[in-house]
């Protein structure tokens, strides 16, 4: 792709102990938010640090606007990185934190002040200029850290699990705000997370990683609807796995239709019926394993432990 903002070509980065990432190919469009998703230790941070300049790579190339950046020091790269934690400089006030990079770029004083004030408003934290990082909550600190990076108008913004230390409700809120700011300012973002829900909610495209390699890359819906491997199917959303004649059949709970009795694609018996708020989760014992599905509260009244159930699958995958 000629017009990619960020391009990673055949990149390999291995640490001395043999861990790392291999043959990574990623292409990110301008204004796109792409997520690296995978369990802890699969190499997400390694890729992000390579883009930011904090990891030397063994082979391959990283290009921004078509120009290789791998020989640039981190301080020269047009990227900005927000780390997992301890981003802000604890001995500087919020204002000094934000001003530091602008000063290095020789932005005049009046303009610095104006841009900082505007940015604080954008992240909904006006008036905190004089506070020190230690006087703010974790969520506020990460917000300032993102603001500090945005202020420098990077070509590519790198976010390494920026919300993972926050509690669920704030995390939700920060996601929405980030998405809004990102589309408003049309910035290119590489976002790292181990939380599939976060990845699905936030991204234009998701890259699912497994042990240092890329397993699948695509829009959230595409990955959910057409997982290319058992690993992706397992990692994204909920999935029933059934071992039938040496093959693995994978069915999402919402694709399992149930009726009382026998004669379905698969027959079984009710195992548990569990009320989960506005819907009910029902599991069934079959010859090939346990199957889970979601039904309404009214339907649930008809099912009791041990009842025979016939199942049909509106959609399934085979691995």
């Amino acid at each position: 792709m000629a017009n990619a903002k960020l391009e990673i070509v055949n990149m390999t980065k291995l640490y001395n102990n043999g861990d790392g990432v291999k043959n990574i190919n990623i292409s990110v469009e301008e204004g796109e938010l792409i997520t690296l998703l995978g369990p802890s230790g699969c190499g997400k941070t390694t890729i992000l640090r390579a883009i930011g300049g904090f990891n030397d790579i063994q082979s391959g190339d990283i290009l921004i606007d078509g120009r290789s950046i791998i020989n640039m020091a981190p301080e020269k790269r047009p990227t900005a990185m927000v780390f997992q934690s301890y981003n802000l400089w604890p001995h500087m006030s919020v204002y000094d934190n934000m001003e530091f990079g602008l000063k290095l770029r020789k932005v005049p004083k009046a303009e610095r002040k104006q841009r900082i004030t505007e940015m604080l408003e954008l992240v909904k934290m006006p008036g905190v200029e004089k506070k020190y990082p230690g006087q703010m909550s974790g969520g506020q600190q990460q917000r300032i850290a993102i603001a500090r990076s945005l202020l420098l108008r990077p070509e590519v913004l790198l976010l390494d699990e920026p919300f993972s230390a926050l509690d669920a409700k704030i995390r939700q809120q920060m996601r929405e705000e980030l998405r809004k700011i990102q589309t408003d300012l049309n910035i290119t973002v590489v976002f790292v997370t181990h939380d599939q829900e976060e990845a699905m909610a936030l991204s234009d495209r998701v890259i699912v990683m497994n042990k240092g390699t890329i397993e699948q890359c695509g829009a959230p819906a595409e990955i959910y609807d057409r997982p290319v491997s058992r690993y992706v199917a397992d990692f994204i959303g909920e999935m029933n796995f059934l071992q039938i004649n040496g093959k693995t059949l994978a069915v999402r709970p919402e694709h399992v239709r149930v009726r009382k009795g026998t004669g379905g694609e698969l027959d079984g018996f009710v195992r548990t019926v569990m009320m989960l708020g506005h819907y009910v989760e029902m599991t069934m014992d079959t010859d090939y394993g346990i199957v889970k599905t979601f039904i309404s509260e009214e339907e649930a009244r008809e099912y009791h432990k041990g009842d025979p159930v016939a199942m049909d699958f509106s959609k399934s995958f085979e691995y």
Binding site: G52, G53, P74, E75, M81, Y86, W89, S93, F100, L104
Partner: protein, 289 residues
């Protein structure tokens, strides 16, 4: 009434528990200190109050030379020890090389060598007929370095060198602890916004470690201003460090003068103790709630 009585009882109990410690402290620390202070204001023959001992220290040419000598040897020791320790601690904190990890596990070893042993070892290597001299004898006679005499003993250089041997490991330990408290992402995010190494040092690392550096400096100052063994073994006869001067007064039975010298040393130590307490107590702006 009843309440008052039980309060009084528990107070007595506390005093009772503390009494042994208090008595020991009074006996072996506070009493001698007070005694020394009193003695330093006494006339040797009559025992009457006098400022004579102190005025001698501050007006006598020799005594003044000793005081100045002590101050500058100590200050130079502090400056050099902190400088080298800071460099070493920075290297240990930010280098991943094998050499760094070897040094990391060995740098405290000099602290474990007893002072006497270390000073004698130093003497054997550095003295004008020591190891260095003998090695230089192996060089051809026509060379300038043949029969090289280091000239490091019985002067300030030797004392400072020995002081560094003991104090660099100690100061490095304290500064290293401070630097290991600075998370890598602090340094990396500074790099990320465009700061070079020098700016990162002056804007991030120095402000975040300066209070521990000050604490290391006060400790080095305190332990060296009153040092005795090292200057006694490898120092000059003139000028002397105050510790040696104190002993000299003592052995010539000038107890009142000796008391005044020790009060002076005590005063120097207290100044650095005050710096220490101030640095420790001073709330950093960024740590206030």
């Amino acid at each position: 009434m009843v309440k008052n009585k039980s309060k009084w009882k528990s107070a007595m109990l506390i005093v009772g528990f503390l009494a042994p410690a208090l008595i020991v402290a009074l006996g072996i620390v506070i009493y001698p200190i007070i005694n020394t202070i009193i003695k330093s204001f006494q006339d040797p023959s009559t025992g009457a109050f006098t400022l004579e001992n102190y005025s001698y220290l501050f007006t006598n040419k020799l005594a003044r030379a000793h005081i100045w000598y002590t101050i500058w040897v100590t200050v130079l020791t502090v400056v050099l020890a902190i400088f080298f320790s800071y460099l070493l601690a920075l290297y240990l904190r930010f280098s991943n090389s094998r050499i760094a990890s070897v040094i990391r596990s060995l740098y405290l070893l000099p602290r474990f060598v007893p002072v006497l042993v270390a000073v004698y070892a130093l003497k054997m290597v550095l003295s004008d007929s020591g190891l260095i001299n003998r090695l230089s004898m192996l060089l051809p006679e026509s060379w300038a370095l043949h029969n090289f005499k280091p000239g490091l003993l019985y002067n300030a250089k030797g004392i400072i060198l020995a002081n560094l041997w003991f104090n660099i490991p100690f100061a490095t330990m304290i500064i290293s602890a401070a630097l290991s408290g600075i998370s890598s992402s602090i340094v990396e995010s500074a790099q990320d916004v465009g700061a070079g190494k020098i700016r990162i040092f002056f804007k991030m690392i120095l402000p975040l470690s300066i209070s521990d550096v000050m604490i290391a400096a006060t400790f080095v100052f305190m332990s060296n201003v009153s040092s005795f063994t090292t200057p006694y073994l490898i120092g000059a006869n003139h000028p002397m460090m105050l510790g040696v001067y104190l002993r000299k007064q003592f052995s010539s039975r000038k107890y009142e003068l000796a008391a005044a010298v020790s009060c002076l040393i005590f005063l120097f130590s207290s100044i650095s103790a005050i710096v220490y307490i101030y640095t420790n107590l001073k709330e950093k702006a960024w740590e206030r709630d």
